[in-house]
């Protein structure tokens, strides 16, 4: 029994990172109906921003309050990643907004690969795996045979907080209303005086900064390397599709489902089958319910 509680906790930890990244996929899809395949690699870049900033921070100001250091790293990573995402959107995606949708998808694939290979070739980063310095002292608590670490608690709590915040932004603010409006009808909304370009850039920035939260949290728990964006990005993407791409609450649910798949597959099968299980799940879902768990089926207009 303890084993399952422990694994559920681990699944929540992994799942919340997936959910955070899946949100970025789903928001961009919702507003542009474009799959931003580079999002996983934007997440990867965010962990490197967090890595460099936190190493610098701890070097310069040793003995800084750990919570302050953590919050500062988080904010810098969020800001830097948002900037990167907006630059990518402006340079690579915006010229293609009127082109066939496939062009944008191919460009996104290209951008993703570019980021990966650039980080490998770029000397200060390089292909070697790295660790984020311990921003928060890792203390393990043992509650009735279940080990809970402070990092685990921080990851789950911060993710939950960010998700609630995003839900509020999208549902309660003017910006959120504009986002929902654009995803509802791209042609009428500009006529109502909504600055579409700015809202689209903002969506990219928001999605990327949420991924940066995920990236910083992920970096505290695992090693980072330039190619990790592929695997994690794909898993997050599957989460978004499972939940119903374009649907924000769906992405959160999907993230946790994929977290459970990742943690509980090795219980039944060798752990090398994880990718196989996840992608088979995606394939089966796409064949029988292409719109995911919460997505609305859309009729094609002729």
């Amino acid at each position: 029994m303890e084993f399952y509680i422990q694994q559920t906790l681990n699944a929540l930890q992994v799942g919340s990172v997936y959910a955070l990244i899946a949100l970025g996929y789903t928001m961009v899809y919702g507003i542009l109906t474009m799959i931003n395949f580079a999002h996983g690699d934007i997440f990867m870049v965010s962990t490197y921003i967090a890595f460099f900033f936190s190493t610098m921070l701890l070097g310069a100001l040793a003995g800084l309050n750990p919570i302050l250091a953590f919050v500062a790293t988080l904010l810098v990573a969020m800001f830097g990643t948002a900037l990167l995402a907006v630059i990518i959107e402006r340079l690579a995606y915006k010229p293609l907004r009127t082109a066939p949708r496939i062009s944008a998808v191919i460009t996104a694939l290209g951008v993703g690969l570019f980021l990966e290979n650039f980080m490998v070739a770029f000397k200060p980063v390089g292909p070697a795996p790295r660790f984020l310095p311990a921003l928060i002292p890792a203390i393990n608590y043992n509650i009735g045979g279940v080990t809970v670490s402070t990092i685990q608690i921080v990851i789950i709590l911060v993710s939950a907080l960010v998700m609630i915040l995003l839900d509020v932004i999208v549902r309660r603010t003017m910006v959120g209303m504009a986002m929902r409006a654009i995803s509802w009808d791209k042609f009428i909304v500009p006529l109502m005086g909504v600055p579409v370009d700015r809202i689209i850039s903002l969506t990219f920035a928001l999605g990327a900064s949420i991924a940066a939260v995920g990236g910083t949290l992920y970096g505290m728990a695992y090693t980072i390397d330039p190619y990790m964006g592929i695997r994690i990005g794909w898993w997050a993407f599957i989460s978004a599709v499972v939940g119903g791409i374009g649907n924000i609450r769906g992405a959160m649910i999907g993230g946790f489902i994929l977290g459970f798949v990742e943690i509980f597959t090795p219980v039944f099968l060798p752990s090398t089958y994880r990718d196989f299980v996840a992608f088979s799940l995606l394939l089966v879902l796409l064949i029988f319910r292409p719109t995911g768990i919460l997505g609305r089926p859309m009729a094609q207009k002729v």
């Binding site: 010229p95 496939i102 998808v105 690969l113 290979n117 090398t272 089958y273 196989f276 394939l283 796409l286």
Partner: protein, 344 residues
């Protein structure tokens, strides 16, 4: 030797004259092994590009998982030549192995064709990607064929003349395919799937056949690739490989066989040339991998239809489809009385 004669036999004669060169030049060391290798890669890449162009360029569907088909072809062909065929008979049974690899890939293509009935565009892209990932994952988990360590033991059966023959077969088959009546159906799906269904194009049949044919070609290329490198592992057939194919298709031009040949050639030469250039100016080779995605992005923004987009070299168009032949046909119709009866 009049013009009609050259129109009819010129291309065939040129191709026949090149053939002995592909045997003799490497044999007598006139071209060094590196050039030989690059030429073989160009050939293999042409087959791959034509294969992907059939689906992405001509049919307008979107596959990003062709490396999966290639992997199946490579593994099946290699398993046959290493485990089943006697070593001495290897060179003679090589085409059989390649065909078997192609057929196996074609069967997998059948599996991908069915989801394409229901999903289109980006969702189909996801399906093909998932397929690519699943193939890689399965290969990594099959310990009998080496798992993640890969599979080796093939002899170097891929010679320049074999590649040459397969390229000609591929281009010939693809040309006849896209210029056939059936091929018109493929093009009509690209323009508008629902409208083509309304003018009684059997869209399902067209999709299945095109996917199977395309996968078959990718499988052949995989077999050639495996017997050139003499070592394959699942990591050779990831999304990176699929992206290379996409770059070649969109560089050369969608919906164009001449474009595929051009794209594959230019891409291979540029990537190999960069190797030397980077070495000369002393930049690490890792930057080479940055170039391909950058090329893809710039192409999509500035030249989304590629060099030859939707156009074709004259010699790749069947004689009766060439502009002057079509004009001749129109004149004949007008010359016959009324013209209208001739059409009905």
């Amino acid at each position: 030797m009049n013009r009609v004669f050259w129109n009819r036999w010129g291309l065939i004669l040129i191709l026949l004259l090149i053939f002995p060169l592909t045997i003799l030049l490497p044999r007598f060391g006139i071209i060094n092994p590196y050039i030989d290798l690059v030429l073989k890669y160009i050939g293999i890449n042409i087959i791959l590009t034509v294969s992907l162009n059939l689906v992405n360029g001509y049919m307008g569907e979107f596959s990003v998982g062709h490396a999966g088909f290639m992997a199946i072809g490579a593994y099946v062909a290699s398993l046959l030549t290493v485990w089943l065929f006697p070593r001495a008979a290897g060179p003679f049974l090589f085409p059989v192995a390649l065909l078997a690899g192609g057929v196996a890939a074609g069967i997998a293509g059948l599996g991908i064709a069915f989801p394409s009935f229901r999903t289109r565009g980006d969702y189909l892209a996801i399906v093909t990607l998932a397929f690519n990932m699943i193939i890689k994952s399965v290969l990594e988990n099959l310990d009998a064929i080496g798992g993640p360590r890969g599979f080796m033991g093939m002899e170097k059966l891929t010679t320049l003349w074999w590649v040459y023959i397969w390229v000609i077969i591929t281009v010939f088959l693809a040309r006849n395919y896209v210029f056939s009546n059936f091929g018109r159906g493929v093009l009509s799906i690209r323009e508008d799937e629902i409208a083509s269904g309304l003018v009684s194009v059997n869209t399902r049949q067209v999709k299945v056949l095109t996917f199977v044919f395309s996968a078959f070609l990718a499988g052949i290329a995989g077999g050639l690739f495996a017997h050139e490198l003499q070592f394959i592992n699942p990591r050779s057939f990831t999304i990176l490989k699929s992206t290379d194919m996409l770059v070649m298709v969109y560089l050369g031009g969608i919906g164009s066989l001449g474009g595929s040949i051009l794209g594959a050639t230019v891409f291979t030469v540029v990537m190999e040339g960069l190797r030397t250039v980077l070495q000369q100016i002393g930049i690490s080779q890792e930057w080479r991998l940055v170039v391909a995605p950058l090329m893809l992005i710039l192409l999509m923004i500035f030249r989304p239809y590629g060099i030859m987009g939707l156009r074709e070299f004259r010699f790749l168009i069947p004689r009766k489809e060439r502009p002057e032949a079509l004009n001749e046909f129109r004149k004949q119709i007008h010359a016959s009385k009324g013209g209208k009866e001739a059409l009905t």
